[in-house]
Amino acid sequence: MDQLITYLQYPFVVYAMIVGCLIALCSSLLGVTLVLKRFSFIGDGLSHVAFGALAIASVLKMNNQMIVILPLTMISAILLLRAGQKTQIRGDAALAMISVGALAFGYLILNLFSSSPNLTGDVCSTLFGSTSILTLTRQEVIMCACMSLAVIILFVLLYNRIFAVTFDEDFAKATGVRADIHNLIIAIVIAVIIVVAMSLVGALLISALVVFPALSAMRLYRTFRAVTICSAVISVVCAFIGIVISILAGTPVGSTIVAIDVIVFFICWICGQLTGSYNR
């Protein structure tokens, strides 16, 4: 405990905490919708796209890599969510294609053109999250906070529409809800969250942040509102505990958070089983 308090006196630790919790909160909010829409894997696919985009950006030696990463990820997100509806290649196949393709090309580009002395280390930290969350600058924290805030506000304002469109898209469309626009907004927001979250848990583990809190909350609660709130709480708590443990024990941040998420899921699952059988 004393050790923790000592660490908390360093601003970079506090920054990491803030950013980690905000990212966890945002990803869990949309996670509920994604899991219910059967898009659990979109986070994974998009993060691979983001990795590919990152590879391009770093080869081009761009100062602000976001200019490449964000638009590319957004475009893929829009394409993928559209593909879920009606195209020649169905949703899951399109997802697999884009995600593996982007991963392969990203690594290939890095290998061919990168001048970095420690290529494997770079790739590994992009895929599994790095300690870069502990080296965030003030600007980065502010930017991340702004993005998260925008996502949260958007989610709250659109909450009822997101529910209607997720529960029954045809009905929503028939009664005059602009479902296409909402799907577009959801796609863009997911892309933003994934790009931001890459610095925390890395490209390979983002899906966990999106999927686990939602699934855990669904074991425990049976209404949309309760599931949404519960998954947000679970996600933030897990991220917080994960960061604390990783700082104290020196474990990698991303995988520690995900490990906590997995453990919490099993606890929720057991609780759900127990109360479920009790109700019946």
Partner: protein, 235 residues
Amino acid sequence: MALITVKDLAVGYETGIVASDINFEVNTGDYLCIVGENGSGKSTLMKTLLRLQDPIRGEIVTGDGLTRGEIGYLPQQTQIQKDFPASVREVVLSGCQGRLGWRPFYGAFEKQAAQKNMERMGIASLASRSYRELSGGQQQRVLLARALCAAEKVLLLDEPVSGLDPVVTAEMYGLIEKLNREGITIIMISHDISAAIHSASHILHVAKTAWFGTKEDYRSTHIGQRFLGQEGGRT
């Protein structure tokens, strides 16, 4: 003027026309039953009526001040809904979504409408229960209440009794008839022709050449007799 007038309509997808030469009109208070064999284009027609897809040819004219969004819709249940965590109240309220316009949240008016329609469907006591834990008949009532929140004038029902047991099926038909007597125009797709023809006022038979007319006329046509006879023989 009729509530909905359909002229020379052809429906289908990019891959081809599913049904064509559909002509009919629906007046306030009608109970139209759309019948036809599997794959004859009933559901496609309904999606076109709801403007979920564009007609290939022909037109759909709405009259009597009926606008898009004033048609309530009872869709067939989707796979997603089977494990969707949502309370009955949340589902019914979502029917009011189309009325909100740019407002982000439901107001007192929408909440009242939801409450009223839950009572109307006899599910007010289930309001905080989870939708996925209800029986098939109760779920249909929830979706019907939601459809009523969306529209007071016209309801489009897509196979409202599929998967329900005979007792619940009869209840469901009773409920729909009651709504019809209260002045709501009903357009219903059904496999179950013998029960449907019992309460319907008009029949639209979707086939290669579509047939439309009153229930009495339908009984005397060749196509109707054959279809009714078939169904009768099967049960």
